[in-house]
């Protein structure tokens, strides 16, 4: 790899990392605003204009709170837990294609941190590791409520990972590639996967809610039965890291949904628009790419909003309902979806080739 490429990659990774953290920070603000608006309130508006400095104030509060470690807890693991949660949450945005390629000085620059040909599996693997932070933290607290929260998180994540994997397989059968860049490129224009995979999308959406521990699947931290769930004993910024990791997970889940089903950076009539803007293919390409990045983030923000919208609408499941939904409804539906997709592909090959 050339040194120029290396510098570009470093900058890009830092930028993506920064954007991820920034979006997660402001997700906490957005969450409070959305909750307030849905409940006919106004929400935070005192810190800065429109309360925009509220996340900073929250972080300041978190840092200055007492760092509490329970007496009989497993100290090392207690500290490791939130760190692992945060680390794993930050890992997955590396393979997401936030845009197509820019042409800068004759050099093709792809707006993706690393291109691996198993990008989707990478995301899936990282997501499946996400539960360790919660489990380690919950167990190390030496508190029965925390332990129950951790156990619930583990069983819930494993159950919904299966349905999620099966719904992804239908996508893979259509695209024939595990690379997220490839999947995004195939959905050029308005040829989005959602038109072919509505059932798969709904299954994926439900599983994404369960994997990120969001309402209606937030049983690991359900206040009514488990005090605070896995983070009962946590205080200060260690609690902050757990909460922050949740918002990063939401951001990544939204980005993956936008990439897999809603055409990533593609938008309708993008090529016609490119031809309209300029005759110079380089300028046209760059303008379209930048517009594409904007479109991609618009889609991501919509999904983040959707996560919050659902949170303030639906009540929580009971644990047996959650398990029943996962194993008896979503997995059979996902298998049905695979069979339907396979049949569809065979029919298309038979009649249109």
């Amino acid at each position: 790899m050339e040194s120029v490429d290396l510098i570009y990659k470093t900058i890009y990774i830092l930028v993506i990392f920064g954007i991820t953290l920034l979006i997660a920070t402001y997700s906490t603000y957005a969450e409070r605003k959305v909750a307030a608006f849905i409940q006919d309130r106004i929400g935070p508006n005192r810190a800065g204009p429109f309360g925009l400095l509220q996340p900073l104030a929250d972080a300041g509060k978190m840092f200055f709170k007492e760092e509490f470690i329970p007496a009989k807890s497993n100290k090392a693991l207690f500290i490791l837990g939130p760190g692992v949660a945060m680390l794993i949450a930050c890992m997955s945005s590396a393979v997401i294609p936030f845009g197509d390629m820019l042409i800068i000085g004759g050099r093709e620059v792809y707006l993706q941190a690393i291109e691996v040909n198993i990008g989707l599996l990478y995301v899936f693997g990282v997501v499946s590791l996400g539960v360790y932070g919660v489990m380690i933290g919950g167990w190390a607290s030496n508190n029965k409520f925390s332990l129950l929260g951790a156990i619930r998180a583990a069983s819930q994540n494993i159950s919904y990972e299966l349905a999620m994997g099966l719904s992804i397989i239908a996508i893979l059968m259509m695209t024939g590639s595990l690379s997220l860049r490839e999947i995004a490129a195939q959905q050029a224009g308005f040829n989005w996967n959602i038109w072919y995979q509505p059932l798969g999308f709904i299954i994926f959406l439900v599983c994404a809610f369960a994997e990120t521990n969001r309402t209606p699947f937030d049983l690991p931290e359900c206040e009514a039965e488990l005090v605070g769930g896995y983070h009962t004993e946590y205080s200060s910024m260690k609690l902050g890291l757990f909460l922050f990791a949740e918002y990063i997970n939401i951001f990544v889940a939204s980005a993956v949904m936008a990439t897999l089903y809603f055409g990533a950076y593609n938008f309708p009539f993008m090529h016609e628009l490119g031809a309209l803007i300029s005759d110079d293919p380089v300028i046209a390409n760059n303008v379209i790419t930048i517009l594409g990045v904007v479109v991609m983030f618009a889609k991501i923000f919509f999904f983040i909003f959707f996560f919050m919208w659902v949170r303030w609408t639906l009540p929580r499941f009971r644990f047996d309902q959650l398990m029943k939904l996962g194993w008896q409804i979503l997995i059979p539906l996902a298998i049905l979806n695979i069979i339907l997709t396979g049949g569809g592909i065979l029919l298309k090959d038979h009649f249109f080739n």
Partner: protein, 169 residues
């Protein structure tokens, strides 16, 4: 570069694997086992077998070890440690040592097959090639394994099903 990375990873793997055995706390053992899987995945990536690395993480670190941890967290750890008898310690050391000797003896004369730079294909570990091999040359064993999994699944469902008239709560 790759050489030093390999030695670093290999020593890390051995260290983690050793810690699995040495750790007194079973939860620590499981966490070290997870680290071991990570380092093994690192070896796969060094061999350019990305698919295998990812699947190793998803299946072992992401699912099976979570279940291990799940069970071990339920154990009551406040009980004092079980004292092992001296004779069982001796038996353990003897058995382990014998196994080690056998392994050394077996591997001493084994020769590692070197690759031919002319015909070497660095893309052999990629998903496409792996799929072609699995669904071409090894179709029958692959399908047989899937039947085996199906049988295991049906058995698990049978075991987990409630008996007629049985009340669990």
């Amino acid at each position: 570069m790759t050489d030093s990375l390999f030695f670093f990873l290999a020593s890390l793997t051995l260290l983690c694997a050793l810690m699995v055995v040495i750790s007194k706390n079973p939860v620590h053992s499981v966490l070290f086992l997870i680290l071991t899987f990570f380092t093994i995945s690192g070896h796969y990536i060094l061999l350019n077998a990305q698919f295998l690395a990812a699947v190793n993480i998803i299946v072992y670190a992401g699912a099976i070890m979570v279940l291990f941890l799940f069970v071990i967290m339920f154990l009551n750890q406040s009980q004092e440690r079980v004292r092992t008898a001296t004779i069982s310690k001796f038996a353990g050391v003897t058995a382990g040592g014998l196994l080690f000797i056998v392994l050394v003896a077996a591997l001493r004369d084994a020769s590692v097959q070197t690759y031919d730079p002319e015909t070497f294909d660095s893309q052999i570990g990629m998903v496409e090639n792996l799929g072609k091999v699995l669904f071409g040359d090894y179709l029958l064993p692959f399908e047989l394994a899937s039947v085996l999994f199906l049988v295991a699944m049906v058995g698990a469902v049978m075991l987990g099903k409630k008996e007629e008239g049985e009340k669990h709560f």
